[in-house]
């Protein structure tokens, strides 16, 4: 059913499983005027680098780009919290006319002296790409003068979508690798890529790995430290979550240092367990596998009784998912199933062809699969499928709430730990507390049903 909510040019990015052979357009520029939920290249770079807590993050551009990304993410640090400050060169008209290089150099000079970061990232924004500031040169000069790495991030907003920003962040980070000491690293060692330590998740994941006998060398980038990234080439394996964001970095490490990588997810019981098993089996040491099994057994036992209570209440309820990366959507489909819920719509801002093929495989007939959606489409899907729960981010929340639908925030702004076994329980609690709230009986959608 194509209604007026859909633009003709968007038709190929919406699929209903079972209706026609699977085909979905993706990884395209957002359609002008379609009110995409996507942000920009800069956003992608900020997502990846933001959690590096002992680095200075200087946004070279007008004030907006810095101010809209100030302390909005739940990425925690166990030490310094420099990442939570918002630095901007706050370019003015005169800088746009005469160039912003001098201002940038002066800003770097002052900020590095003041905050003594271990490195600095300088983010390029739309107009920097246009006025032709030579970020590379300014950063090189600052590196020499200050004795810390000062790294340009080519994140001009208009140069593609969020994925291009991930890539820019990864190549900036890659410049750090190989400069740290890699002595004293266990042969069973990993880097954790693509976890951003929202609400402390990476601490939990590290603890699971430690209990299984596996050493974590670098967090990339949750609770991240420059020194760790500088020695991450000493790890034996890269464990990559949120592959869209950090797979490029893993590929660089593989190319330059021969470190293999595996893709995992820490959301949901199945995927969390699978992540531990996959890492243990990579090292082919039966003892590691035994320890991993015991971690899983222990943790699952802890949460099962409470989970089954939620499952009873939530069984048969219908859920919709719209998230940034499609990889997270796989886990969510499984996690919601574990709670007895039916996923009737799933989509992402930046999924790839492979992602969507996999999504199509794991979803039920009739499920709507959508790429780079927008408010009118999402609202019409909610109505069409009579959804009970929407899982998304801040921009999806008011759409769900306006229509009287329960909501779970699974984006970077959230303050709830949703990864790991404990995270699965938190997720279930949050879903339960929204879906089972008495407020829905008062919203027009339910009260008008009679």
């Amino acid at each position: 059913m194509i209604t007026s909510a859909f633009l003709k040019d968007r038709a190929k990015q919406i699929h209903r499983k079972g209706s026609v052979p699977f085909e979905l357009d993706c990884n395209k520029d957002s359609l002008a005027g379609a009110v995409s939920q996507r942000a920009c290249v800069f956003c992608g770079s900020r997502v990846v680098l933001y959690p590096i807590a002992d680095a200075l993050h200087l946004v070279h551009g007008p004030i907006g780009c810095a101010v809209y990304t100030w302390d909005i993410r739940g990425a925690l640090s166990s030490g310094p919290e420099l990442h939570r400050l918002s630095f901007s060169t706050d370019l003015q008209e005169i800088d746009v006319i005469f160039g912003g290089e001098k201002k940038l150099a002066k800003a770097l000079d002052e900020l590095i002296d003041l905050h003594k970061p271990k490195a600095a990232f300088v983010y390029s924004t739309c107009i920097v790409g246009l006025i032709g500031d030579d970020l590379e040169a300014v950063c090189l000069e600052a590196t020499k003068e200050k004795g810390i790495p000062v790294l340009p991030v080519e994140s001009e907003g208009f140069k593609g979508n969020k994925r291009a920003g991930y890539a820019a962040a990864c190549s900036a980070m890659a410049r750090l690798v190989g400069t740290g000491d890699i002595g004293n690293i266990s042969k069973y060692s990993i880097n954790i890529l693509g976890d951003f330590n929202l609400a402390g998740e990476i601490w939990l994941i590290r603890e699971y790995f430690a209990r299984a006998g596996i050493e974590t060398v670098a967090n990339i980038t949750g609770d991240g430290r420059i020194a760790d990234i500088q020695r991450c080439h000493g790890a034996a394996l890269n464990v990559v979550q949120c592959s869209g964001a950090t797979m490029d970095f893993a590929n660089i490490l593989e190319e330059n240092y021969g470190i293999p990588s595996i893709r995992v997810s820490y959301f949901g019981i199945e995927d969390m367990a699978e992540a531990l098993y996959a890492v243990a089996s990579h090292f082919a040491d039966p003892e590691l596998m035994d320890r991993a099994r015991s971690v899983v057994k222990n943790e699952v036992e802890k949460i099962l009784p409470e989970l089954s209570k939620y499952k009873k209440a939530l069984s048969g309820k219908k859920a919709a998912i719209y998230v940034g990366g499609a990889f997270k959507a796989f886990s969510l489909v499984k996690a919601l199933r574990l709670l007895g819920m039916d996923v009737v719509m799933v989509g992402s801002q930046t999924g790839t062809k492979e992602d969507y093929i996999e999504l199509e495989e794991i979803t039920d007939d009739g499920t709507i699969i959508v790429d780079d959606s927008n408010p009118l489409e999402l609202a019409s899907f909610i109505k069409e499928k009579d959804v009970d729960l929407f899982v998304g981010g801040v921009k999806e929340r008011p759409i769900a709430y306006k229509l009287g639908v329960a909501f779970c925030d699974h984006n970077h702004e959230r303050k709830e730990m949703l990864a790991g076994f404990q995270g699965m329980l938190n997720f279930a609690r949050e879903v339960y507390s929204s879906v089972m709230s008495p407020v829905w009986q008062f919203v027009p959608r339910r009260s008008e049903e009679g």
Partner: protein, 450 residues
């Protein structure tokens, strides 16, 4: 006090960018879709920022420019975007604001829109209002004021005198807007309040997603604003060109500019003006609420007397709050803003005139880094402003009284009433109780009877 060091970079800005203000203003026009001509990220970031305050959907379209557009011009995407918004949203108006990207590549919006109208315009096409809002010059307030000015300049036509009153109320909360409309109605005034986002950004739960939410300043009323009896425009720090000035020079509509009616004297001035304009006595209920306000101030004056406050935010809001604070005996010690209209200090001086209090430190063009340094020296008791001051207030263990925009760490930002006697009553109770709460929590005794 010692001078604050002048840093090149902005750290934790106390301002937002220009297109955000324009988007909010456009959202207050009936049937209007805000549209940013620029990269996709701007629209998305601003939506997220606005949503987090109002807890309401806000669809802001974008021309979603990519790299090619930045080189060859954004015209084709602008036109495609306008067509898509027209098709999907059926707007009466599209409010197009530029961004730093399109201003810097030199897109000539007037020419592009004229071409667009020629190419695609029909009788049923939406009206298009455009405003130049490069974020490298001015803050969200300049964007807001400029958009309102352009709406009037581009949509108002010559009309016969109609006895209405125009109210340019500035950037206030939906609760404030509703209050002003009630006041006017109680005076028997037919008012054109612009922009009116009291419904569009604070609407009811619905059964269907509102493609464009109901409400907003009616277009028919905007067209006839030139024939109004007069215009009333709030603000001490407005630029030379405003909506009120445009009507004055184009249609000779008399203009009264006065500060935001916050506190007793500024509210008196507003009510007296309405009395004078209508020849009607101030309705009894406002006389009564003024009486109750003063009575409550007497009851609680000792709790607040001589408490030292830092007030920050948009220039006019700070001027208004300062005026109120000195009326209740709170000493504003620092009045700070990220704006730089050049009129801020005079505004503060004007509202302090005749009040026995010391002149506070008044700083424009500052960020929260500066505010924190200054606050440390000023022996502060309370902090008054939006959520972004929380970081430094927490560090200094100072209570934060949340007003204005954005309120990102509490619910109900849209329902904060700042204006009139009722707003002053709310603020007074809030400030007093915050001070009592602090005293009570800090006490080792723990009195339950204060």
């Amino acid at each position: 006090m010692k001078g604050i060091p002048s840093y090149t970079a902005t750290t934790n800005a106390c301002k937002l960018c220009k297109p955000l203000g324009a988007s909010l203003a456009f959202r207050g026009i009936e049937g209007c879709v805000p549209f940013l001509h620029g990269s996709q990220g701007c629209a998305t970031y601003m939506r997220r920022y606005i949503i987090s305050h109002f807890n309401e959907p806000i669809d802001i379209a974008s021309s979603s420019l990519g790299e090619k557009n930045a080189i060859y011009g954004g015209g084709p995407n602008l036109k495609l975007g306008l067509n898509n918004v027209t098709e999907k949203y059926h707007p009466q108006v599209i409010g197009v604001a530029t961004t730093c990207l399109t201003e810097t590549i030199g897109d000539d919006l007037h020419r592009l829109l004229a071409e667009y109208k020629k190419e695609f315009g029909t009788e049923s096409s939406p009206l298009i209002v455009s405003v130049s809002t490069p974020s490298y010059s001015g803050t969200h307030m300049e964007g807001f004021t400029a958009a309102v000015k352009e709406i009037v300049d581009q949509l108002t036509t010559e009309s016969a005198p109609n006895g209405t009153i125009n109210l340019f109320s500035g950037f206030i909360s939906p609760a404030d807007i509703r209050y002003l409309k009630n006041v006017c109605s109680d005076f028997g005034i037919e008012v054109t309040l612009i922009p009116d986002y009291s419904d569009t950004l604070d609407g009811p739960a619905l059964n269907d997603y509102p493609v464009i939410p109901k409400g907003g300043t009616p277009l028919a009323a905007i067209r006839n604003m030139g024939g109004a009896r007069c215009s009333v425009e709030f603000g001490w720090t407005l630029p030379g060109q405003t909506g009120g000035k445009v009507l004055e020079s184009k249609f000779k509509t008399p203009l009264h500019q006065l500060g935001l009616p916050i506190g007793i004297r500024a509210s008196d001035r507003f009510f007296d003006l309405l009395k004078e304009l209508t020849g009607t006595a101030i309705p009894e209920k406002y006389v009564a609420s003024r009486g109750r306000l003063i009575d409550s101030m007497v009851d609680a004056h000792k709790y607040v007397f001589n408490k030292r406050a830092v007030v920050y935010g948009e220039e006019d809001l700070v001027v208004g709050l300062t005026s109120f604070l000195v009326e209740i005996g709170v000493q504003p010690v620092l009045c700070a803003t990220g704006g730089k209209s050049g009129k801020f200090e005079n505004g503060i001086k004007a509202v302090l005139d005749g009040m026995a209090c010391e002149m506070p430190v008044v700083k424009e063009d500052v960020d929260f880094y500066d505010i924190e340094i200054m606050a440390k020296e000023l022996d502060v008791d309370i902090v008054i402003g939006h959520s972004k001051g929380y970081a430094f207030a927490r560090k200094e263990a100072l209570p934060l009284i949340r007003v204005g925009f954005p309120i990102h760490d509490r619910v109900g930002g849209q329902r904060i009433l700042h204006l009139g006697y009722e707003g002053a009553q709310y603020l007074f109770d809030l400030i007093t109780n915050t001070i009592i709460d602090k005293k009570q929590s800090d006490s080792t005794v723990g009195y339950s009877y204060m």
